[in-house]
């Protein structure tokens, strides 16, 4: 019988790599991600290192999902815009982005997405301040946090760009 474990954990949006690392460390220890929810991760027992987990900002395009399925990847679930995939390790290395161009394009997509939500919060917050809404400071706080997130992800992009000066 496979046992199910639920863990609640919070990751800041710029820490998606750390989140993925943690999920893979769990898989290494025989705890395979089997379901996701808001700050919620469900695991089932598996052979240690049987699967590799990858996170993606979902493209919402059928063609891409088909390609992933053809390549043997399985979608575990989605939270908001983040999709969680797994693939058996015996099918070879599993990465979603493995050259500098596509890694940079991926970060750009994340920045654009966070940017939209940041602007929405800023807009609602400013409007709320004018209208005396009690929720306005919360929107402003979200906007500040998201702007900070964009800064952090920009930092990741700069690291890639430096690498590109010497490598393709």
């Amino acid at each position: 019988m496979s046992e199910l474990t639920t863990i609640h954990k919070w990751y800041w949006v710029w820490d998606f790599e750390k989140e993925e690392e943690w999920l893979n460390q769990m898989a290494e220890e025989g705890q395979l991600l089997d379901g996701v929810g808001w700050c919620t991760y469900r695991f089932r027992n598996s052979l240690p290192g049987e699967y590799v987990i990858r996170l993606d900002l979902d493209r919402n395009e059928g063609n891409f999902h088909e390609l992933l399925a053809d390549a043997g990847a399985e979608c575990i679930g989605k939270v908001f815009k983040w999709a969680y995939y797994r693939r058996r390790t015996d099918e070879g290395p599993f990465e979603l982005y493995n050259d500098i161009d596509s890694k940079e394009e991926y970060l750009n997509r994340i920045i654009r997405f966070i940017g939209i939500i940041c602007m929405l919060n800023l807009g609602i917050g400013l409007f709320g301040i004018g209208a005396g809404s009690p929720a306005a400071p919360l929107n402003m706080l979200c906007a500040v946090l998201l702007a900070y997130a964009i800064g952090r992800i920009h930092g990741k992009k700069e690291v890639l760009q430096k690498e590109r000066k010497l490598h393709e």
């Binding site: 088909e66 070879g92 050259d99 596509s102």
Partner: protein, 105 residues
């Protein structure tokens, strides 16, 4: 056709893999086969590159045949030309390198 710029390894191998029409997963397999297992195109990398190459007009999507659910891509005239130019450029690189190394010996 952007002759001044070198192609990335990803773009080069996708063009090679599309010398015959192929679908997404087929391109992954072909690139791996052509490079004796060295080039593994990640799904997100391949998908983004295919979209970019369609926009540039180097490849096109073939109409989906009834009964088949996978979209196939093929090279356009421009795509063949880009591949020819890149091959000529790479040959030059290799020859230049060899010349220098042979002179040293």
């Amino acid at each position: 056709m952007n002759e001044a710029y070198a192609l990335t390894e990803t773009t080069y191998y996708i063009l090679l893999a599309l010398y015959q029409p192929n679908h997404g997963y087929g391109i992954m397999q072909k690139a791996e086969e052509l490079s004796s297992g060295r080039v593994r195109l990640a799904a997100g990398t391949l998908y983004g590159a295919l979209n970019g190459m369609c926009e540039k007009g180097w490849i096109i999507q073939l109409p989906v045949e009834s009964g088949s659910r996978r979209k196939e891509y093929c090279l356009t005239e421009a795509g063949y030309a880009v591949l020819d130019n890149e091959l000529a450029r790479l040959e030059k690189l290799v020859n230049d390198g060899k010349k220098v190394l042979e002179e040293t010996i």
